[in-house]
């Protein structure tokens, strides 16, 4: 029996496309086996790791994962916690004890802590099979957002926007003097001077759009240097 990969690494494939034939290959995320063949079960980019074939999504709404830091919006205040919008089909819950290390007295007005319409940076602690999401605000960097605005990006592009060890996003921050927080759920908070903030937002959109260009970091670096007139360095920390 012949064993053959039908597609190239990083090739964009569509549902139903045959990726490989032969039992020697193993179907992983985003693929399935049909007889001898491994078939694409979604649109995305092929990644072959020795004999394991998977598809990296390029589109689609955010899939919540425990441990992810996201930006969420308070949409309701409940008896003993808050309900938040997460940029997914499912709302999240945050209990009083997860919201703050402060002691909240029984019967206290919870809106004094987090009010409807406010944005927070929070961490997912648990996701159930039904996609119910629990959030916490206890941890470094987790906080209520004040000022600025929130933009939406393709959540599948978030790793590129952040860059290796935060290199990409710190470059944008340094170039524009903006405060930026990238939520894994595709919501990005930005706050800066209007002209600089526009550069930051445009650059984030550019990274989102050109995410699969090789040498993206250098490309973004020269773009930012051109529009800001600042000399930049690529550093692998930040966030």
């Amino acid at each position: 029996m012949t064993e053959e990969i039908k597609v190239n690494e990083k090739e964009v494939v569509v549902p139903g496309e045959t990726l490989a034939t032969g039992m020697g290959f193993l179907p992983s995320k985003g693929t399935y086996r049909e007889g001898d063949n491994i078939i694409a079960a979604r649109l995305g980019m092929v990644h072959v790791d020795r004999k394991v074939i998977k598809i990296i999504p390029l589109s689609g709404i955010y899939q919540p994962k425990a441990g992810d830091v996201i930006i969420a919006k308070i949409i309701d205040v409940l008896m003993s916690g808050w309900k938040l919008e997460t940029n997914t089909a499912y709302p999240a819950m945050m209990s009083m004890k997860d919201a703050t290390s402060e002691y909240i007295a029984k019967g206290a007005d919870l809106r004094r802590y987090f009010d409807v319409d406010e944005y927070v940076v929070a961490k997912i602690t648990n996701v159930t099979t039904q996609n119910l999401i629990d959030l916490t605000m206890r941890g470094p960097g987790l906080r209520k957002l004040r000022g600025g605005r929130v933009i939406k990006v393709n959540s599948n592009k978030v790793p590129r926007i952040i860059g290796k060890h935060g290199s990409m996003i710190s470059m944008v921050k340094n170039a524009t003097d903006c405060k930026i927080i990238v939520g894994q759920n595709g919501l990005v908070w930005v706050d800066g001077e209007p002209d600089k903030e526009k550069i930051a937002v445009d650059t984030i959109k550019k990274i989102e759009e050109e995410s699969h260009v090789s040498g993206l970091t250098d490309l973004i670096k020269s773009h930012l240097e051109k529009v800001t007139g600042k000399k930049l360095e690529i550093t692998e920390k930040g966030e």
């Binding site: 549902p15 139903g16 589109s59 689609g60 089909a89 709302p91 039904q130 996609n131 599948n156």
Partner: protein
């Protein structure tokens, strides 16, 4: 009498010219346009998103909800009155059934994926164009899908088995006609939509379905190209 040459001069197995594009509606989570001859379908996908009213929520699987609509100026005669029609409701329903087999509804329990199909201009084959556009929009929206869905009307005009009937052919008067909208999973050849108006022999249906399967494969290639085009790495001059 016999139908020797098609009104628009096409071969009997030939579709009208096809144009298609993915990502035409920015606000949507996925979108596509599919044009075949003078029939144009837009499809937009929203979701998975929260499902209202709540009583429709199913904790085991998500819901696919399709809305098919002709724009008021899209008919070839008088203005089409906007609002729900029995025809529109039925087409929405059969479109759902045509698309569900490739989806994994368990992926989004309690939630909904909404598909909106709108036709700005029509000349027969609207439900097929809608299904074909919708399947591309669903792929664009990043949903898990076993295959795309490609649909085309096949049929019989007088003594000829034909592919992709026009309005003129549906209204052919010198002989009988059968109009058979078919949706096919291009890679397996399985049929997910099958309707028929007119009169037809079983042998002819078999022939017609074979043509539908072959045409679906051709349409799949067009869908594939358009989807890849959308996500292709843009070449950026350094």
């Amino acid at each position: 009498m016999a139908y020797k040459k098609r009104f628009d001069g096409r071969g009997f197995d030939e579709t009208r010219p096809i144009e298609t594009k993915v990502g035409i509606i920015k606000k949507a989570d996925g979108s596509a346009m599919f044009k075949i001859g003078n029939t144009v379908a837009y499809a937009a996908v929203y979701g998975p998103r929260e499902l209202h009213p709540r009583f429709l929520q199913n904790p085991v699987k998500g819901l696919l909800r399709v809305h098919y609509n002709m724009m008021p100026f899209s008919g070839h005669g008088e203005r089409v009155r906007p609002g729900t029609s029995r025809r529109g409701k039925e087409i929405s329903m059969v479109t759902e059934k045509a698309l569900i087999p490739v989806l994994d509804l368990a992926e989004f329990p309690n939630a909904v994926v909404d598909v909106f199909i709108e036709l700005p201009q029509t000349d027969a084959g609207t439900r097929c164009a809608g299904i074909t556009a919708a399947s591309m929009a669903l792929a664009d929206a990043g949903l898990n899908m076993k295959d795309l869905v490609a649909a085309v009307a096949v049929g019989r005009v007088d003594d000829q088995i034909v592919v992709d009937l026009t309005y003129d052919e549906e209204a052919y008067e010198d002989g009988t006609v059968a109009d058979i909208p078919v949706a096919v999973l291009p890679n397996s050849g399985k049929v997910t939509l099958l309707q028929m108006d007119g009169e037809l022999k079983r042998e002819d249906l078999k022939k017609a379905l074979e043509k539908a399967q072959k045409t679906a494969k051709d349409i799949y290639e067009v869908q594939k190209k358009a989807l890849k085009e959308r996500f292709k790495a843009k070449e950026v001059p350094k």
